[in-house]
């Protein structure tokens, strides 16, 4: 447990580690905004140096999984969930278990450890659960020799990791049909999948315009607009409250997701719900780009029906004493406001999410 405390950037429960990591990776602090813009033009990936470090050799104890996880997590390109999948695959590889049962227990322990590392991250726990299901699903494993079964698990684990790594590219490819020349799209905050989609569209010589929300409180939208501008895409930044004002010039809305839940709705960065409501009332399609490892067996009934995830908000001026601040980091968008989900399993309507989950967990 001591090790956990050392590794988790924010061991205190009120602040969500998931959103803190995102902020570190994607946020732009206004003071170094210009330097960043300049740096982005010359150096495509400011965090690339993290790749230089060799992966730690994971021990068979639970601590290893966190180390491995952290190694992958430090790369801003790798999603936290993919890092977890890689770490779990490494657990199988380095396991010294001699029976299937032992291996499964070990895997379960590692997965629980990862999940408890940050309970506020939906994609982390969803990816751990999905990995466990995917790897240990078929029952006829029991009839094989242990070594053969283990190598099969490794194979499956690696396959799952590979699928997850490729997911973003697959989604970008699938979503090209939705972007037509001359369209204007609205994006909210910084989403790596959405960026990948727009990048591919730009490289396919599509002509389109992007409106970026600012993405308060960590201003991830500024980072998004920065990267889009570097690609030569016409981009305009809005403050979060200007969404309804600008909606009439928008043809479609693209958002990412922190988690896709069983109802087909999404849990995403604060502000997604109100954008979805505005888009719905103005009859604009809203597309969600999300990798399938974000499908979680959760079913929130309303906004408060989730594990709370908080993050600090800087208002620039001190908050008067006795004033409460809403620090929740995410909201839930019900499925009726989503048009389609663009996932690596294909383009899905929200109701298919639950079908996929049932088939996987049944």
């Amino acid at each position: 447990m001591e090790l956990d405390a050392a590794q988790n950037p924010n061991p205190e429960p009120p602040i969500s580690a998931y959103y803190q990591t995102r902020a570190e990776h994607h946020a732009v602090v206004s003071s170094d905004w210009l330097d960043h813009a300049a740096a982005a033009a010359s150096l495509p990936d400011a965090h690339a140096d993290a790749d230089a470090a060799p992966p730690p050799s994971p021990g068979s104890n639970g601590g290893g999984v966190i180390e491995e996880f952290n190694f992958w997590r430090r790369k801003p390109e790798a999603a936290e969930a993919v890092a977890a999948i890689m770490a779990l695959a490494a657990v199988i590889r380095s396991s010294r278990a001699t029976t299937m049962m032992e291996l499964e227990i070990e895997l379960k322990k590692a997965s629980d450890k990862l999940k408890s590392w940050d309970a506020t991250s939906i994609s982390l726990s969803a990816a751990c659960d999905l990995f466990m299901r995917f790897v240990t699903r078929t029952s006829h494993l029991e009839h094989e020799k242990f070594d053969a079964a283990k190598s099969r698990l490794i194979e499956r684990g690696e396959k799952f990791g590979e699928i997850s790594l490729k997911a973003r590219k697959t989604i970008a490819m699938l979503s090209q049909d939705f972007i037509s020349d001359g369209c204007t799209m609205l994006v909210h905050g910084y989403s790596r999948v959405v960026l990948e989609i727009l990048k591919l569209a730009a490289s396919n010589r599509k002509l389109f315009r992007v409106l970026c929300t600012e993405g308060r409180p960590d201003r991830t939208g500024l980072r998004m607009s920065n990267e889009l501008a570097a690609l030569g895409i016409p981009v305009k930044v809005l403050i979060d409250s200007a969404v309804a004002y600008s909606m009439d010039e928008v043809d479609m809305v693209f958002v990412g997701a922190d988690g896709v839940v069983e109802s087909g709705g999404i849990i995403n960065m604060m502000g997604t719900y109100q954008i979805a409501l505005v888009a719905h009332s103005m009859n604009k399609p809203l597309y969600v780009a999300a990798e399938s490892y974000k499908f979680a067996r959760l079913y929130p009934l309303d906004q408060k029906d989730m594990t709370p995830a908080h993050r600090p908000i800087d208002f620039g001026v001190p908050i008067p004493a006795g004033v409460e601040v809403e620090t929740s980091a995410r909201d839930y968008t019900p499925p009726q406001y989503l048009t389609l989900l663009l996932t690596d399993l294909g383009v899905l309507t929200p109701s298919v999410v639950s079908d996929e989950l049932i088939q996987l967990y049944l």
């Binding site: 069983e262 067996r297 009934l301 499925p335 639950s354 079908d355 049932i358 049944l362």
Partner: protein, 380 residues
């Protein structure tokens, strides 16, 4: 069967054990449904007991319990029926020159038609009968009679345990995650699984309040209310007339269901649709709790095509109000028809979530469950 088809009704009458007396003043829109004539049948059937050889006594007993309303509720009726079949199978012996699987299927068929005469089948019962007939048909030919009977009895026990008892426990464990402290939960009528959820939440020490909404003529909510209050749960009791008044203080609506159809329509106690619609209008989540064995692949858009008619007299007579005699001889007036419906259909738009033994699902996933459930039944 279409009960407005004169020829077929005539034929069915000849076969019937239960005396079919003609109902008067039928409501035009509901002529195709079996008309309610139960009141006069009970003494008639009781006197026939010794003349009816082919009906097993335990089946006969359960049939009379349906008729008198002593056994009611989707799960209760289904379990009673299965236990009766179990007894009947235990006492069964194949007649000479006949094979077990064919003769027993016919026998079960005759029991089922007896049950239908007592009270139209619920969808849960229909599914259970389909399961049992399927098991009989699939019996290996090599089994001896006693082995076959033992296998069928254990199948019935397994069905009751897995699909009803354990399924309810799983539903409770899912539903409990949606009950928070300081919640106000509304329920309508009396559903056995909702009752289990409320009791379990109370055992876990959650601090919540329950509003039991009830309606005439059955007033089933009073039984639920008595049991909940006895457990020390804070309750409010009201009738469905006041549901829009009480709804603003509610945080969750828990409903039971007789069946869930594949377009997500919830087929349940009449009044459920109104409660769900009022909750939807107030933006309050509606959770429907239903075991997967009650799901049906049929699609229904209204409450007219398939329904059950209850006793029209119970709406005209109000106990304790002898002064309200306006409807005393209502049957003599040809222009007056009374309609007492038993079920209604709630469109899926008004349902936020369905809680089944397969987890918490949106109403759009019902076809998936129907499909997977069938698959499982084939393999078992």
């Amino acid at each position: 069967m279409q009960f407005d088809d004169v020829h077929r009704v005539e034929k069915a009458k000849k076969r019937a054990i239960v005396n079919q007396s003609e109902a008067r003043n039928r409501v035009e829109l509901f002529r195709h449904l079996p008309q309610y004539v139960h009141g006069t049948q009970l003494p008639d059937l009781e006197s026939k007991f010794f003349q009816l050889e082919p009906i097993h006594p335990s089946v006969y007993k359960v049939g009379l319990q349906y008729l008198s309303g002593e056994v009611s509720g989707g799960n209760g009726r289904c379990i009673a029926m299965l236990l009766a079949f179990r007894e009947a199978i235990k006492d069964y012996s194949t007649p000479p020159n006949k094979t077990l699987s064919r003769d027993l299927t016919a026998k079960v068929g005759s029991y089922v038609s007896f049950f239908i005469e007592c009270r139209p089948l619920s969808i849960s019962m229909g599914n259970a009968i389909r399961f049992l007939k399927n098991r009989i048909a699939k019996l290996p030919i090599t089994l001896s009679e006693s082995e076959a009977k033992a296998s069928l009895q254990s199948d019935i026990d397994r069905f009751i345990n897995e699909k009803i008892v354990v399924a309810d426990q799983v539903i409770v464990s899912h539903a409990i995650t949606k009950v928070r402290d300081d919640d106000v939960l509304l329920t309508y009528g009396s559903s056995s699984v909702v009752e289990m959820i409320l009791e379990h939440a109370h055992e876990l020490g959650r601090k919540f309040r329950v509003i039991v909404v009830d309606s005439r003529p059955k007033l089933e909510g009073q039984g639920l209310l008595r049991r909940l209050v006895a457990k020390g749960i804070n309750c409010t009791y009201t009738h469905i007339n006041a549901v829009s008044y009480i709804m603003h203080e509610v945080t969750r609506v828990f409903l039971g269901a007789s069946s869930i159809l594949s377009n997500g329509t919830v087929y349940s106690r009449v009044g459920t649709a109104s409660v769900a619609m009022v909750a939807h209008a107030f933006g309050i989540p509606v959770l429907v709790c239903c075991e997967a064995y009650k799901f049906h692949e049929r699609v229904q858009l209204d409450s007219i095509c398939a329904n059950e008619l209850g006793d029209p007299d119970v709406i005209s007579k109000i106990p304790g109000r002898a002064d309200l005699g306006d409807l005393k001889n209502w049957a003599d007036n040809e222009n007056l028809q009374l309609l007492n419906l038993t079920y209604d259909a709630t469109p899926s738009d008004y349902v936020s979530m369905i809680i089944t033994d397969y987890g918490m699902l949106p109403p759009t996933s019902v076809p998936v469950i129907v499909r997977e459930y069938r698959k499982e039944q084939l393999w078992v």
